[in-house]
């Protein structure tokens, strides 16, 4: 069995656009145990969405997830927000690519916006197990901040710092200041919007000794607004899917995810990053391929070319 049946025990309003949903086993038994950082699949008819578990496993065998309503939702978050208490949901088993390191002497949790969800569960678990940690929560202040009240009302309060309403450079400075004081061998966990995690990556890279753990937060597959220039690339060999923001090149997006692509000119001239395309239509911006080669669409330059489709599958 790779799925479980769960009943919605409670729905909470955490912010104007964020609902938390508590799930318990439909048969009265506890749901399968998990470690902080895990996520589950939620089946919504033909749609499958992943949500991080934000409670701790040590409580009562329930799961708690949070869903942000995406204005450009293709169905996932809208349908999640339409659910009512008492309804039954088919969910997957917990999976974890973002687990806490068992031997960390100190952990630093850096949350950006709705990226709070896996980190909140981690904070609870670290606290419950008496581990040393600090929790930094960055959010826009023009919205009510999800889980702020909850954090302030619990034992997490003294470990948590809120950074509200900061813009780009101020976020960087705050992160820099916080990272400046952490122990040299601390483990850093971050989840949040792409640009936020990019800054974290850069700052952590500048401090040798720190160990970085990233969770690419997808409340649902990113709303792809092709007119705005974002899309995703799926890497056939590893099965990884990476989102490419409008402001990023494919090479940059892959690098941000820790995947190095050999490049030289990075201007679509030299052909070093020429890559086979297995599916999807590339939007060529290079000057090396001929018109015919561009039309064939079976190869592309990852440094400048983009996508005409929501997803490209690359032979990487």
């Amino acid at each position: 069995m790779t799925t479980q049946s769960a009943i919605i025990r409670r729905i909470g309003v955490e912010a104007a656009d964020i609902r938390s949903i508590e799930l318990v086993g439909a048969d009265g038994k506890p749901l399968r145990p998990f470690e902080a950082g895990a996520h589950i699949d939620v089946y919504l008819g033909e749609l499958i969405r992943q949500y991080s578990l934000i409670n701790t496993t040590d409580t009562d065998g329930s799961y708690r997830i949070a869903v942000k309503l995406e204005p450009t939702s293709r169905g996932g978050s809208r349908r999640m927000h339409a659910l009512a208490e008492g309804e039954t949901l088919k969910i997957g088993l917990p999976r974890n690519n973002f687990a806490l390191h068992p031997d960390a002497t100190h952990s630093v949790l850096l949350a950006g916006g709705i990226g709070i969800t896996p980190l909140l569960g981690m904070a609870y678990q670290l606290h419950a197990r008496g581990k040393s940690f600090s929790f930094e929560y960055f959010a826009r202040s023009d919205d009510p901040v999800a889980f702020a009240q909850e954090i302030r009302a619990t034992a997490l309060a003294p470990r948590t710092r809120f950074h509200l309403g900061l813009t780009g450079e101020a976020v960087r400075q705050a992160l820099e200041t916080r990272l400046h004081t952490v122990p040299r061998n601390a483990h850093v966990y971050t989840c949040g919007p792409g640009p936020f995690m990019q800054v974290v990556r850069e700052l952590v890279a500048a401090k040798p000794g720190l160990v970085l753990h990233l969770e690419y937060f997808v409340a649902e597959p990113p709303p792809l607004d092709l007119t705005a220039g974002s899309f995703q690339v799926k890497l056939a060999k590893s099965g990884t899917t990476i989102r490419v923001d409008a402001s990023q090149t494919i090479v940059e997006a892959l690098r941000a995810a820790g995947i190095e692509v050999e490049t030289s000119c990075e201007q679509g001239v030299c052909g070093t990053c020429l890559t086979t395309v297995l599916a999807g239509r590339p939007d060529h911006h290079d000057v090396i391929l001929t018109e015919e080669e561009q039309k064939a669409g079976d190869r592309m330059l990852l440094c400048v070319s983009r996508s005409l489709d929501a997803e490209l599958v690359l032979d990487l």
Binding site: S264, C265, Q267, V269, C270, G271, V287, I288, T290, E291
Partner: protein, 358 residues
């Protein structure tokens, strides 16, 4: 380095080979003697007598049609066959012949075909701009033996951003460094263009245009055909005005490898919408056009390309240049040229295998 062989290379300007004159050259490492027969026909033969390999070019033209070897006076006709042996019985063994290279005379140039496949003169790219026409203003049809590989020289010509730096004042200025590079390919013809807008006219163009140092729109569009034949359409016009209202030149550049590291570079310029200032100024401008261009290639391009070549050859491992946007032209022509060379070699290998099978 492999050369493309089944293609037309420029051997000489037609003007540089008078009737009953001989010229010795090396193309693609092969010594060749070119000569013009009394009736005007041009022939090109391997420049080594089949008897003892002394260069035929050291001999002379006799009977208006034959090359006579300086050593033993064997005579060859334009097809490379020995047609006269003054010794003994005078017998000419069939093996007494030298390789003859197909030649064609077109667009005021003598072209030579270096490959084994049948030579087709219709494959000569269109350079009809150079066809004789008394109304055209053409600079001196000039050449030099450049101490650099034809590929490095082609790289230079296919990336004209260098004119702003290397030929500052003559063919470009600090204001013409930036120019959006466009690239276009039709079959195996590659075109790369750049067009700095609203800039002071570079010296040579100002001279040809209004000679007032005013702002102009400048363009440089290069067309490449294999193996290394280029036209650079460059000129200036009033800012925003169509090119037809401006003035410029078609710069003609023909590169023929002598060896891997030396190149016969034939060049001249044909004026586009020439503005007449009357004599003697027109002739002075024409002379300046000839002199300045030769100066630019010989005194400005050559030293840097030769030094660049020395550096590349000095490297232990093959060096990979880190390219820039300006290299769109060089990269594209190189892909085409490499593909043509590869095709030629694959065809040759295939033929070799069939030969063995038979």
């Amino acid at each position: 380095m492999e050369f493309l062989r089944n293609t037309w290379y420029v051997a000489l300007w037609s003007q540089d080979l008078a009737p009953e004159q001989m010229v010795s050259r090396k193309f693609l490492n092969e010594p060749i003697v070119l000569f013009r027969q009394a009736d005007g026909k041009v022939a090109a033969l391997a420049d080594a007598c089949a008897h003892r390999f002394s260069p035929l070019s050291m001999g002379k033209i006799v009977k208006g049609t034959h090359v006579r070897c300086r050593y033993h006076a064997l005579e060859y006709d334009g097809s490379g066959k020995c047609v006269f042996n003054p010794h003994g019985s005078g017998r000419i063994p069939p093996a007494l012949k030298v390789r003859s290279y197909p030649v064609a005379e077109k667009h005021s140039m003598i072209w030579i075909w270096m490959g084994e496949k049948e030579a087709d003169p219709s494959l000569i790219p269109d350079f009809s701009i150079l066809d004789p026409d008394p109304k055209k203003v053409v600079s001196k049809r000039d050449w030099l033996l450049m101490q650099a590989s034809y590929e490095l020289i082609t790289d230079n010509l296919m990336d004209l951003s260098h004119t702003a730096i290397m030929h500052e004042g003559i063919l470009g200025t600090e204001h013409t460094v930036k120019g959006n590079v466009t690239i276009e390919q039709t079959g195996t013809t590659v075109k790369a263009g750049r067009s700095p807008k609203n800039v002071p006219a570079p010296g040579l163009y100002d001279l040809m245009y209004k000679n007032d140092g005013r702002q102009v729109d400048f363009w440089q569009d290069v067309r490449w055909d294999a193996p290394a034949c280029m036209i650079i359409d460059s000129g200036v016009t009033d800012p925003g005005a169509p090119r037809e209202q401006g003035s410029g030149i078609y710069g003609m550049h023909f590169l023929t490898p002598e060896t891997e590291t030396t190149t016969y570079y034939h060049f001249c310029a044909v004026r586009y919408n020439p503005i007449s200032w009357g004599q003697p100024l027109d002739d002075e401008i024409r002379a300046k056009l000839s002199d300045l261009r030769r100066f630019a290639f010989e005194e400005q391009d050559q030293p840097i390309i030769k030094a660049q070549q020395d550096r590349i050859r000095g490297q232990k491992n093959s060096a990979h240049p880190v390219l820039l946007e300006i290299d769109a032209g060089p990269v594209r022509y190189k892909r085409v040229l490499e593909a043509l060379i590869r095709q030629e070699q694959e065809a040759a290998t295939l033929q070799g295998e069939e030969g063995r099978a038979a």
